[in-house]
Structures are given as C-alpha cells and as structure tokens.
Symmetry: C2
Subunit: 437 residues, 2 copies
C-alpha cells in the first residue's frame, strides 16, 4: 500500500529502487532527455529519463504520456541538486494505471486561469492543483486544532439533528423538506439543540456539522450549505466566558495549521500569525459613538451594516493591531428570541459576533435560561409559543446559565487564506445556481 511515499521519505532513499504512483502533472521531451513531473497527494516528484540510461520501451512510453494519466513509476532514486527535492527517479518501468482523455476541460497546471464557475464545474480537476488541495489541508488542520482545544477543555462532541419540525429562528430563508408527507426544515444553526443538550446536563458540548441558508445571495460571502463548529457551555458567569473559549479555540486551530501545514502554506505563499488574546471587544451602545466619530451615523437600535463592519475593522486594526474583534451587546430587537437581554438595559442583549477581517465569522453569546423570560421573548418577537414548546418546556425543569457560539468553517478558512470567495473553501459548494457536482 506504500504507493505514494512523500518526497521527503524518498529523498532519504538515494540509490534504492522505489515505486511511486501518481498523476502525470507535466511531461517535457527534450533531445537527449525527458522529464515527467509526477504529482500525488504528498507532493511532486521528478522522473528523469536520459536517452542513454533508460530502456527504449520506457522512453517510448514516456513519449506517449498525456497530462493527468495515472501511472506507477518504478526506478532508482538518484541525487539531483537541481531537482526540487534534491533527487530524481530514473525510471526502469512505467505502468499505466488509468489513462486520461484529452483535451482536459480544466488544466490542473493552472497555466490558463479559469473563472470560479468553470473551476467549480470541474471541481475534481480543479482539486488536483496543489494550491487548491492546500486549502483543504489547511481547513482540516484548522478544524483538528479547534477540536483539540475543545476536547482538552472538557467539551463533548455531540451530533444534533439537521431536520427540524419547526423553523429555528422564525426566518423565511429555510429549505423545506418533505418529511414522510409532513413539512420539515433543514436547520439554519444547530443552536437550539445544543441548548437542549445543556438542559440535559451535558456540561460542555460542541456540534460540528452542516447548516443551510436558502438565501438568494450571490455574494462572495455566502454559500447555501456551510459547516460550523459550535460549542455550548453551562454554568457560565456571563457571555464573556464564551468569548474566552472562542479566541482560545481559534488560536489552537491556527497553531495546528502552522505545525502541520508548512508545505501548504509555502504553496499558498502565506505566513500565518497567531493572534494575540484577548481579542478586542466593542460593545453597543458605545459602538454607535465610535461609528459616529468615524463619520458613520447609525440610529440607536439599528444593527451593524457592511459599512460599519468595514469601518470598525479599520478602527480595530489601527487601535489594537488585531484582525479579530468581538462585537457585544447587540440591540435585542435585531437578535433572535433566545438571547439573554442585559437585565439593567434590556434594549441590548448578551449577544456577541466575532468579526474577522471585516467578515462576520460567528454569532453567539449568553442564552436566556429562565423559562418565563424565554416565553416573554417569544411573544415579543411575535412568534408562536405553542409551536416552540418542544424547545421551551425543558426550561421549566432546572437549566443553568449557558452560552455558546457557532463559527463558520468555510468563512474562517477563506478569509484566513485570503481567498476571494467563500465557495473556494467548500469542497463541493452549493449555491442558488449550483447543486452539482
């Protein structure tokens, strides 16, 4: 099964005979010498076939190879200072594993630049580009690092349901599903069931899975199906406990990327800095004053708009030299029924967003755990108490203070890597016009 040894491992086997499988990334036929660049998930290996040193049938085979053929190359590892990893393989034998058709609808060498739609139509060929694979290796490490922090901090991973019998936040932008003849919905957020897990006494939990938004948005920030990592913790003092968890989780994710993805960061030509904690926190209503000073007047009670996010991002960068900042105490009127209002100033809530390089990355904060308050807030929002009973009833039987947040994995990946479109950080993204592949 050792079909794709790493270039690093091969470089330590000078003089040995090896077999390496992969895709023909490129072939160059010169007069007295031919080169194959062989690509697999571990990297690139140079195969060098000097006319004098290689059997005629192997030379003929090299001459008839096409880009993206899958081959197995058997030969001796030879030191070669000019080759990328300091070695090359002199082929003794080449086996065709899976021949590729020509022409390619998309060239994984990325010589000709394809637009995002063509790339996503031919996502499998697009994925063969090292800089595209790098995105998903970084995403994997990021998630691994975030999960490692959560586990080490006593969070239990739980699987909460994706199909709901009611709309979680009363919004219209949900996908409807025919559930055995009854109407059902795909969740917009795993939050209500995380709260129920807390009500069930599972002290600290997190969910990692898909959510859906049926928005007709064609912005670079939206996809119809996305993944979140979403912790929830009980016996908190206030919403700031959730902020401390969030920033530590992010640092752990970024640290893991730096540990595990040197090659990928090289391919992407990126340096990732570990952010300093605590992240700066801006809070309503003071935030209206900051915005006013920055020349942007928002009426008290209004939500942040894109322009505010942009201005605050610049402001925080200048004042605190941070790419991350929390926005706390959102107006209760713009947040869902389950947020905890500030007792002394119920116009505002213990509701927290995390903004990263101008993008909303997560929403969360402290939830209301007092049954009568939850019921009041449902009514205030004009929602139906009866249809939310499946969620509210357990709060009659002893539920501790709790809070959490839900962080978008594709958004984090895309903005961290400077990608232009969040779709680039989803393996097979979904959008209003995209349901395949």
């Amino acid at each position: 099964m050792e079909e794709t040894p790493t270039p690093e491992a091969l470089s330590k086997r000078l003089g040995e005979k090896v077999s390496v499988s992969g895709w023909v990334h490129d072939v160059r036929l010169l007069g007295g010498i031919s080169f194959i660049l062989l690509r697999n998930s571990e990297g690139m290996v140079q195969v060098t076939a000097p006319r004098k040193a290689v059997p005629k049938e192997v030379l003929d085979q090299v001459g008839s190879l096409h880009p993206e053929d899958v081959i197995r190359c058997t030969g001796v590892v030879k030191e070669a200072k000019v080759a990328k990893n300091g070695f090359e393989i002199i082929p003794e034998r080449i086996d065709m594993i899976s021949a590729s058709a020509t022409p390619l609808p998309l060239d994984p060498r990325g010589v000709t630049d394809a637009n995002i739609d063509t790339r996503l139509n031919w996502r499998t060929l697009d994925l063969r580009r090292p800089e595209v694979q790098a995105v998903f290796r970084v995403q994997d490490a990021l998630v691994e690092g975030m999960e490692a922090y959560l586990r080490a901090s006593g969070f239990l991973r739980v699987f909460t349901p994706s199909i709901l019998g009611g709309v979680s936040e009363g919004g219209a932008e949900v996908f409807k599903t025919d559930y055995y003849g009854k109407p059902a919905f795909l969740r917009q957020d795993p939050q209500l069931h995380r709260q129920l897990a807390i009500a069930g006494g599972l002290g600290r939990v997190y969910d990692l899975g898909p959510s859906w938004r049926a928005e007709l948005s064609h912005t670079p920030r939206h996809i119809s199906e996305h993944r979140t990592i979403a912790p929830e913790l009980s016996f908190i003092h206030d919403e700031r406990d959730t902020m401390r968890v969030e920033e530590a989780m992010l640092v752990s994710g970024i640290r893991k990327v730096n540990e595990k993805c040197r090659r990928e960061l090289d391919v992407l030509q990126l340096d990732l800095e570990e952010p300093r904690t605590p992240f700066p926190e801006l809070a309503f209503p003071e935030l209206y004053d900051i915005l006013k000073k920055l020349g942007h007047v928002l009426p008290r009670g209004s939500d942040l708009d894109r322009e505010s996010e942009r201005l605050l991002t610049e402001y925080v960068k200048q004042e605190h030299d941070s790419d991350f900042f929390f926005v706390n105490r959102f107006p209760s009127s713009v947040k869902p029924f389950y947020v905890m209002h500030v007792d002394a100033e119920p116009e505002f809530a213990r509701s927290v967003d995390l903004v990263y390089k101008g993008l909303e990355l997560s929403s969360g904060g402290q939830r209301e755990h007092r049954h009568e308050r939850i019921m009041d807030q449902i009514s205030e929002k004009g929602l139906d108490q009866e249809s939310l009973k499946w969620f509210t009833e357990p709060f009659r039987f002893g539920v501790p203070p709790h809070g959490g947040f839900s962080l978008g994995i594709e958004r984090l990946t895309a903005w961290m890597l400077g990608l232009e479109n969040v779709k680039e950080a989803a393996l097979f993204p979904r959008g209003p016009e995209r349901l395949q592949p």
Copy 2:
C-alpha cells in the same frame, strides 16, 4: 468558571472550602441529618447537612429543595468513608440557580421505568440520567479514537455535500427538498462525493456527518437521520485494503473508550474487549454453502436476509470467537452501480459489509474507477447515464483504484453498549413519527 469540579478533584481537597454547582438528584431529610445528592456532568457529590453543624437558614433551604433544582453549594470537603467518593460536603451556603417545576414528567433518577417514546419525548430529562449520558460520552470517545487512527494514517477530513441534485443510488427512500424551486435530495450516503475527492487527487479522505433514509421502518435498527464515519482511500490493491483500515479504525475507537470512559463503563456495567484482528472474512459464493450446511438454503445470486445474518453471526462466534466479521463479494445484482465487479467472476462484486453482533454496521469495498465500466454498470442497473454525468465525467481524466466504506455511528454505539434500540444512541433521534424535540 470552575463550577463543576470532578469528584476525584474534590476528594483531594479535604478540609478546603469549595463551590459545586449541579442538579439536585435526590434529597433525603432524616431527623438529625439531611442529604443532597448533587449531580453534574462530572458525576455525583454528596452534600451532608447535620442539624448541629449547619446554619438554620441552610437547613431550611435544604428542606425546601426539589429534585432537578439547579443549585450552587458552598462548603467544606470532609472525609466520609461511607460516601461514594470517600468525601462529603458540609454546606455553609446554598444558592438557587434555577428552580425546577414539579411534578417531573420523567424522573432522571430512573426509579420508574419509562418506555422509549416517553423517554424521547422528554429527552432532556432522560439525558440527565447518568446511564444515558454515559452512552454519549462513550460515543464521543469512540469517534475520537476512530478519527485519531484515520488522521495518524494520513486521512484528510473533508466535508462533502448533504444536498444532492440527483439520487445517489437510484433508491426511492430519499427525502426530497425544495431547492430554490428545484427538486433536490438529502444524501443517503456521502460516498459519491468521497469518490470525487479521490478523483481530485486527495489520496485519503474521510467524511463524518449525517445521512438520511426515508424508510418507513419501525425496527430497533433504523433511524431516519444517522451519522457515518466514511473513509475513502486511493491506490489500493483490492477491497481487502479497505477492510484492514476498517478493523484498525474500530480497534482504535474501542481502545479510546477503554482509556477515557472508565466511569461510564462502570455506570453501564460493561466490559469492552478489544477485538482481535484481522476480522474473519466470509465471501460469496462459498457463503451459500456455509448457509446450506447451517440449514438455510439461499438461491445463488440472492442477498443475505436477516436469518442468514443471524446464522452467520452464530457460526463466526463459534468458529472464530469474533463479534465482527466481513462479508465480501456480494452478488453484483444486489449492490449499486459503482461497485467493482470481480473481473474473473463479474456475477460477484468487491463489495464488503461489516457485520457486528448480527447487525450490518457498514457497507463498502472497492469502487469501479474505469470510466467505460462505470457507464456500462449504470446502464445495466437501468439508470440514466446522462443524469449521472456530474459524477461520471471526472473518471475520464485519470482516476486511481480506490475504495472505502461508510460505518454507522449510532448502530456501532448501540450494539457495542447492548442498547435495545439504535434510537437510544442518537441524541435527538428522527423517525417516521418523530421530528421533535
């Protein structure tokens, strides 16, 4: 934030003043002494209030507590040989965090046995039972251990889409979704997109997420929404490579449970043995002969029925002393279009199930990677080549041999822990009659 220290940590703080938060599991008021059993996610702590040693207002509070009230108890840790963890807390102060209503619709003390429907209707209260929480702690450790093996073996975690533009296996048992006015479906298995990830050159990947089956089954083995851990690997020799990954992954999962869940296994009164590998392998068509000897005649070409699974389970237990066994080389006619047929005997396929204590736990094997064969097999199944083009086209451009499997997490958890119904291993299960909570 140290509101729920473990009983173990507390037992090392004899003589110290501590605060512990949790639910009132039970209160007993005797003449000269009262007891509270305080329960939280870390276990149970005994609070002992001797009339002579505790202030009157605290005694009054203890007297008015109800089961499932959430309280914070502050007091001194005192050695107590008879108490469960060797200590008790003598309360100096009790704070009510969240009072519970009475009567409880379900008693977390589990004194009166509730049926599964009542339990699931009141899942949050059901979850407060230590033996129910233990299930989800074991499940978490199991998944953590399986993922640890996969990561250490070079598998990259990927997120593949849940909403599909076409039915993956041509089956009728899919949930239909309204996707911006177009028909779409929830995946039955993440398998086709894992194959596309392999076609995209991501050498080894796994998906961990939900799948759905709109079966009208009311058996203890079925839920409408389940989770699978599903690896896919390329450059395999044959389907046996996937079997080796699967058994090693399972051993790693079970090992992690034994490492991490001593308390939970005690609560469940279970001993988990690490299975020996390799798991026994039975294969068609020889399997028909074995069944015949066991008195069960199946016509050549037919699938296993429940009775066969039962008989083979007994047979393997007797012959190989194993709870696990692979069934290989299923008849091609009973498996989906994408399986690889055995070249020398195309009536049978490199298609593998894993059976555990009589239950099908996973399906997988080697996939067909040759474009023309895939197209032929689509036609043989009576499916439409055109509508599967989104899947088949990439196979024209060089795809290595590959295979994998998809293992049901709730099924594994339930059968491993001897639960009677797979629903018990889903936090908030979904079924034909159950969409809430």
